[in-house]
């Protein structure tokens, strides 16, 4: 039991320091600005955006795709590392679950922001038509959200019970709240076996549900005739990209959490080393798909497709495309191949680059295609031939990103980011092992 005291002291949620408060205030301000911009968009209509009849989906949709992609991290870090029996995952799984919950909630909100008639949201259920990929999305996003929340919540229950006792005298109110969510956890053998089974079910479930989510997200695009979207490998391409975006986000958040909560003892350099390998692997898989998606078609590209590729390789979107491909994929792979490249600080910088380029990657999946329709763009104002998001679009997009960060921040603030009970169990098991050995 002594172990718990130290663990609880180290890992129990702590109040924000000055920096933390400043950070939250900043996020809230950005969100308020976005909210004002969104209300303005509702009143005036989407003419406040730079979306037009040709550029009919823009930064909202690419932002949505980004959130969906990032939410995949839960499926990877939790389930795949679990399936492959990687014991080192313990201190990072909860952070991955937190990112997943935040990302999928924001994905749901972002897609509604893109709807021009959010007041008719219920039509999606009342008049639902099953052959539309959007209807599939309407089903899979809440499903994934439920599984993600369960995956965060169920393993949390023993920790909540611990926190209830820990805060009993210090903060009775918080203690009560933790107690409420601990749903009478006593740690009995029966409870433990139910918990273990439940975790197993949810952790297994999130893999297929996560893969279906990414797939449907890709099908939103690949079920159209559009050049650049009409690809049979778009779904696996999206899954590979989601792994990159998700693991990138995970590394970045882990670094910040470790630093601000001083968890160096629990999240060690070894973890970054392992995460570095994982990130390198995901980047390599994504690079493989990128080559299949963009470079192989060069050989047989039809006229429209050749034009599309040209705008990416040498045309209007070339700078962005090469930054995203070289900076966001090739360079990270090269750096991560070296042992020194997998040190925490380097990893942090790489992960930030990966996160930012992952976001822009979605932008250049959505945008160039729409500006190359089959019939020429004629008879519309000159400004419709290009797309730069409007002020409203940027503010609203930043607000959604801020909201995701706020959800992560608050969950990190109020939940033990490192599973206390499991760490204790593992420590005990290790001690027993060493006793046996000695």
């Amino acid at each position: 039991m002594k172990n718990y005291d130290k663990l609880l002291n180290d890992l129990a949620p702590r109040e924000f320091n000055k920096k933390g408060i400043l950070w939250v205030v900043f996020l809230v301000l950005v969100i308020i600005a976005g909210l004002i911009a969104y209300i303005d968009q509702i009143i005036k209509g989407q003419e406040v955006t730079h979306l037009r009849d040709y550029m009919l989906w823009g930064v909202y949709i690419s932002n949505f795709v980004y959130f969906v992609a990032t939410s995949f991290v839960g499926a990877i870090a939790v389930a795949i590392l679990r399936l492959t029996g990687n014991e080192w995952r313990t201190p990072i799984v909860r952070i991955a679950e937190i990112i997943t919950v935040a990302a999928i909630i924001m994905a749901g909100i972002t897609i509604i922001i893109d709807m021009a008639r959010p007041d008719r949201l219920l039509n999606l259920f009342v008049h639902a038509r099953i052959q539309s990929p959007i209807t599939w999305d309407v089903f899979i996003i809440p499903t994934f959200m439920t599984v993600a929340i369960l995956l965060l919540f169920i393993p949390l229950i023993p920790d909540l019970a611990l926190l209830k006792n820990y805060f009993k005298d210090k903060k009775p109110k918080m203690s009560k709240l933790y107690g409420f969510f601990a749903i009478n956890w006593k740690g009995s053998a029966k409870q433990k076996s139910i918990l273990a089974k439940s975790i197993k079910v949810v952790a297994t479930l999130i893999i297929p549900v996560g893969i279906i989510l990414q797939t449907i997200d890709a099908w939103l695009f690949s079920t159209t005739y559009r050049v650049g979207w009409d690809s049979s490998s778009l779904a696996p391409y999206f899954i590979a990209g989601a792994a990159v975006a998700g693991v990138g986000a995970l590394v970045a958040v882990i670094y910040v959490v470790r630093k601000s909560l001083k968890l160096e003892e629990y999240i060690t350099d070894m973890h970054f080393e392992k995460m570095g390998r994982l990130l390198a692997l995901t980047c390599m898989i994504y690079l493989y798909f990128t080559i299949n998606e963009y470079f192989l078609p060069l050989i047989t590209a039809k006229k429209d497709e050749a034009l599309h590729l040209e705008t990416l390789f040498t045309g209007h979107y070339a700078t962005l495309f090469w930054i995203v491909t070289i900076g966001g994929l090739v360079l990270p792979i090269i750096i991560l191949l070296f042992k020194n490249g997998r040190k925490p600080k380097t990893m942090f910088i790489i992960s930030l680059v990966v996160v930012v380029t992952s976001w822009w990657k979605r932008f250049i999946i959505v945008t160039p295609t729409l500006l190359h329709p089959f019939l020429p763009i004629q008879g519309v104002p000159e400004s419709w031939h290009e797309y730069y998001p409007s002020f409203h679009e940027w503010i609203i997009t930043f607000a959604t990103l801020a909201m995701a960060l706020l959800i992560i921040t608050l969950l990190v603030r109020y939940l033990p980011v490192i599973p206390i009970q499991r760490t204790a169990d593992e420590q005990e098991a290790n001690e027993n092992k060493s006793k046996v050995v000695s």
Binding site: H127, Q131, L220, Y225
Partner: protein, 321 residues
């Protein structure tokens, strides 16, 4: 069990009644039939013209008034369409010189206030060495419409008479249909259409109907060419057809096998056969209802159309006459 045993009498009565009813109905039918068979010719004949144009004589007793399908109002379901019709359009590229009368008529009658006309006349040239030509495009009213497939709420729908229409009261504004349409034909109301203000039309008490797109347009929903069923109901042709000074547009019914541009009425199948009609992007399998006749033997110079060509404008907003 008891009940069943008690009831043979009732059963007998029941069956007897049914049998009697059947006999009466049958008898009536037979008497009708015999009267038909016995109908004698009274010698009077009338001259009629058949569908392929030859005159024939028919006994007047054989002449019955055709029951008209009522093309109006609430007689049919708006989502099902006008019964026994299949609307088609033929666009003769050989005659088009970009007069744009079609476009202004369409803009006017659909009260378009946006920047993107529903009917576009594209300046086309496949390659440097091939001839340039003008290509008007309306909604293709595909039989395999990509837009209808992807719509999550059935706001855009396909009717039995061939039309693809939009219920703007239901549209959620996701724009998936616009992404799906390979002909880039759909137009979005990004802001308030402001038709009352811009065009000074009175919409008080006016109900939106999918059969007259744009009257009125609704913010945050999709609009497009509707093939003017509101005009068809009044036995009129779509506005672009009547407006065109060069008779480029032929509108008609595939089942009747006729199309007309207002001046001449032609056999639809023969026209396609004689002039090698084709459809846009046939390879996609969208099965459009709009057919094109190639721009051959043109009577007009392509260059004549350049005068009207404006790459960046398709709706004349300032022009209030």
């Amino acid at each position: 069990m008891e009940e069943q045993n008690k009831n043979p009498r009732r059963n007998f009565l029941d069956k007897g009644l049914k049998l009697g009813l059947a006999a009466v109905v049958g008898g009536l039918g037979i008497s009708k039939l015999t009267s038909k068979l016995n109908a004698h010719t009274d010698g009077e004949t009338v001259e009629l013209m058949t569908a392929d144009g030859t005159l024939i004589q028919v006994d007047s007793s054989e002449v019955h008034e055709v029951e008209h399908h009522h093309d109006t109002g609430d007689k049919y379901n708006v989502r099902q369409g006008i019964p026994n019709r299949k609307f088609v359009m033929v666009i003769d590229l050989a005659k088009c010189k970009n007069a744009l009368a079609c476009q202004s008529a369409c803009n006017k009658h659909h009260y378009i206030t946006g920047d993107n006309a529903w009917l576009k006349v594209y300046k086309m040239q496949e390659t440097k060495d091939t001839a340039p030509y003008w290509m008007p495009t309306t909604c293709q009213h595909c039989d395999q419409p990509a837009c209808v497939t992807v719509c999550p709420v059935g706001a855009t729908f396909k009717r039995e008479d061939g039309l693809v229409l939009i219920d703007n009261e239901r549209c959620v504004g996701c724009r998936f249909c616009m992404a799906a349409c390979p002909y880039s034909i759909r137009v979005f109301n990004w802001g308030e259409p402001n038709q009352e203000v811009t065009l000074n039309i009175d919409l008080t008490g006016h109900q939106h109907t999918p059969e007259h797109q744009g009257h009125h347009s609704i913010k945050g929903t999709v609009d497009k060419c509707d093939f003017c069923p509101h005009a068809v109901q009044e036995n009129k042709l779509p506005h672009c057809v009547t407006a065109c000074p060069n008779g480029v547009f032929y509108f008609g019914d595939k089942y009747e096998d006729t199309v007309t541009n207002g001046e001449e009425t032609l056999r639809f199948s023969k026209l396609l056969k004689d002039k090698a009609g084709y459809r846009l992007m046939e390879g996609l399998g969208t099965e459009p209802s709009v057919y094109y006749l190639p721009p051959v033997n043109r009577l007009v110079e392509f260059e004549d159309g350049l005068e009207n060509y404006n790459e960046f404008k398709s709706v004349d907003k300032g022009e209030e006459s």
